[in-house]
């Protein structure tokens, strides 16, 4: 019943967002139907489109789950962007110089990239634990620092002089992650991470403590939860997931090198996905897929209609606002209606 209610609310919210966007598209003198059709065709319409959507969704799923676990534990990690970049740059650089066989190299590079993300989040974790600095601001600042730092690495010490834009050299071909019929292995890693995260949050004792911290940190602390060390762990773990997203972007994506702008908006996309998924990891996965459709479809939309692909970022923000707005409106009005019917009953009984 509860699941049904949640799905229904999500659908209503997304429809609201689509209606709002249709109006906006109209004001831009384009046809909403054509735009949506293009989104569908290029996001879902064929296996090629679908597998490409899954590939596009992969980093979103990672950053989304990262944000969802953090938020659900009351840890405001907004540093997915920086953590992803640090993971990506580490993997990209090591991928050029490391010399081990493929079967070992790919997992090692992925994990090392993850650790780079964890390390970056670890700075915030350390500052939080020892100096009580709010992770919310420190992770944000680390995003900017990470962004400039990685660009520096790609512009000076590790620059590929043959590239047109600042970028590192291509990683060794043996470290390219294989794909099946267009679907990259990275997606399966994402599914594995989903299962792992779900298990951690729902089944483990630490996951239980983390969730209770997210609900009410005082309750958890007084109840004997290890609030400080759990927060540290969550920051490191979610940093690892973001770093892994970056690593897989290098190993699995299309560029296989670190270049300016490779992080796109994955960090904030992940945050948005987690928010509309109510920090639930399963829902995050599906919203990640949904955003993947939009992003992948956007390329087709630009191609087929006069609407530029930048429109999607705008659409995503509208969806976020519509989902949270509709959700709290439904809650508020359903309560108001329930209390009104109750009033009728009470008055009638008198």
């Amino acid at each position: 019943m509860r699941v049904f209610r949640r799905v229904a609310i999500s659908i209503i919210s997304i429809l609201t967002a689509f209606v709002v966007c249709a109006i906006l598209i109209r004001t831009q003198k384009s046809s909403p139907i054509e735009v949506y059709r293009a989104l569908y065709t290029y996001g879902l319409g064929s296996w090629a489109a679908f597998s490409s959507t899954l590939n596009t969704a992969t980093p979103l799923i990672f950053t989304g789950i990262s944000a969802a676990i953090a938020f659900a534990s009351g840890v405001v990690n907004l540093g997915q962007h920086g953590q992803l970049l640090m993971g990506a740059v580490t993997t990209a650089i090591l991928g050029v110089y490391l010399n081990i066989p493929s079967w070992l190299g790919i997992p090692v590079l992925a994990v090392v990239g993850g650790f780079a993300g964890a390390l970056w989040a670890g700075i915030a974790a350390m500052l939080k634990r020892h100096y009580e600095m709010d992770e919310f601001i420190s992770t944000l600042m680390l995003n900017f620092i990470g962004e400039y730092f990685t660009i520096y690495l790609a512009t000076y010490p590790f620059l590929d002089r043959k590239a047109y834009v600042p970028a590192t050299r291509l990683i060794k071909r043996v470290y390219f992650m294989p794909d099946f019929n267009g679907l990259n292995v990275a997606f399966f890693v994402a599914v594995f991470v989903l299962v792992l995260s779900f298990w951690y949050m729902k089944m483990t004792r630490q996951g239980y403590e983390s969730r209770m911290m997210g609900y009410n940190v005082e309750f958890a602390r007084v109840g004997g939860c290890a609030v400080e060390s759990n927060s540290t762990f969550v920051l490191l773990f979610t940093g690892f997931l973001s770093g892994l997203a970056g690593a897989l972007l290098i190993l699995g994506g299309t560029q296989h090198r670190f270049m300016k702008g490779i992080g796109a908006n994955f960090g904030w996309d992940g945050v948005m996905i987690a928010i509309i998924a109510n920090n639930n990891v399963i829902e995050t996965f599906f919203y990640g897929l949904f955003f993947g459709i939009l992003k992948n479809g956007a390329i087709g939309m630009e191609f087929e209609t006069s609407v530029p692909s930048e429109f999607i970022l705008f659409l995503e923000a509208i969806i976020v606002l519509c989902v949270v707005g509709t959700r709290s409106a439904i809650e508020y009005y359903s309560q108001a209606i329930r209390s009104l019917t109750k009033l009728r009953k009470v008055v009638a009984e008198k």
């Binding site: 600095m133 420190s138 620092i145 660009i151 908006n265 904030w268 930048e310 705008f314 508020y332």
Partner: protein, 298 residues
């Protein structure tokens, strides 16, 4: 060396202004106890619409007007979601920021047909103002005089707000609302009204910060040009617990870091490291604050 110092100090004032304006805007919502993180987005739309108005009407004043209107719109959106629909303030803030980023990026592409940045001679910047008397006293004149007038206005606003917050009816109501909305309501004040007003004022000041960015600092608009200044302003507000005069002081410190970073670029420091300085400065100040807080725990 003296020239360099003068240059840094002059740049400090200029770098401090947008952060300070946004922080003063956020100060209202801080006192009203709204967890408002939307300054970044309000600033960005302000910057965009300032350029928009200036470009199409050839007048910085119309640009400013457009920016303020966009600030009001963003404030209205924030209020609609966070106050009227009672959504989580933090989530609403993130939504608004993303909306601002998406909207301005999209509009830059669809209106001006450029990607990345719009640089054009048609963008009329804010006029610069020579301070009449100070001009005569070197070196102070060369530091203080000749900035866009908005800079002077912002410093004046900071001082005026310091008085308003602690001595006026509105200041009293604002602080009371933030501390205990129920008690404020019980005193016959409508806390929702106060919160709305605070949000609107935040929208106006943050969008002015955007105007300064795109028409004062430079005369162009680039994607995501607020680039974290809204977040820094939030850090400032939290650090000084909202006090306007301290916002002014701390903004100057950030301005100093930023301008030192910019100057160092000329001395073979990679531009990326120069660009990092304000964020590192924020972390550093937070660290100092954290150390102090630890001592004062309770």
């Amino acid at each position: 060396m003296i020239d360099l110092t003068l240059h840094i100090l002059r740049a400090t004032l200029s770098s401090a202004t947008p952060v300070m304006l946004a922080a003063l805007g956020g100060m209202f919502t801080y006192y009203a106890n709204i967890f408002n993180i939307a300054m970044e987005g309000m600033m960005l739309t302000g910057a965009f619409f300032a350029v928009y108005g200036s470009y199409f009407f050839g007048d910085w004043a119309i640009g400013t007007l457009f920016a303020v209107l966009s600030g009001l719109l963003m404030a209205a959106l924030f209020a609609f979601f966070a106050i009227y629909l009672r959504c989580d303030e933090f989530i609403t803030g993130i939504g608004i920021n993303m909306l601002a980023l998406g909207w301005t990026t999209y509009a830059l592409r669809s209106t001006f047909n450029v990607k990345g940045a719009l640089i054009s001679a048609k963008i009329v910047p804010l006029p610069k103002w020579r301070v009449p008397i100070l001009d005569l006293f070197e070196p102070i004149g060369s530091i203080i005089s000749g900035h866009p007038f908005l800079l002077y206005l912002s410093f004046a606003i900071a001082v005026v707000l310091e008085i308003v917050i602690f001595n006026s009816r509105f200041g009293l109501h604002l602080r009371a609302t933030g501390e205990d909305p129920e008690a404020t309501k019980s005193a016959g004040i409508n806390p929702i009204k106060i919160k709305l007003l605070a949000t609107v004022l935040c929208g106006i000041l943050s969008s002015l910060a955007g105007v300064y960015l795109s028409l004062g600092y430079v005369a162009l608009f680039s994607e995501n040009m607020s680039n974290g200044r809204g977040w820094i302003s939030l850090a400032i507000i939290i650090l000084v617990k909202g006090r306007p005069i301290s916002i002014l002081g701390l903004s100057l410190i950030f301005g100093l870091f930023e301008s030192i970073g910019l100057i160092l670029q000329h001395y073979k420091l990679a531009p990326q490291f120069a660009a990092m300085t304000p964020y590192i400065a924020t972390l550093f100040v937070l660290y100092l604050y954290g150390k102090r807080k630890r001592k004062m725990e309770w």
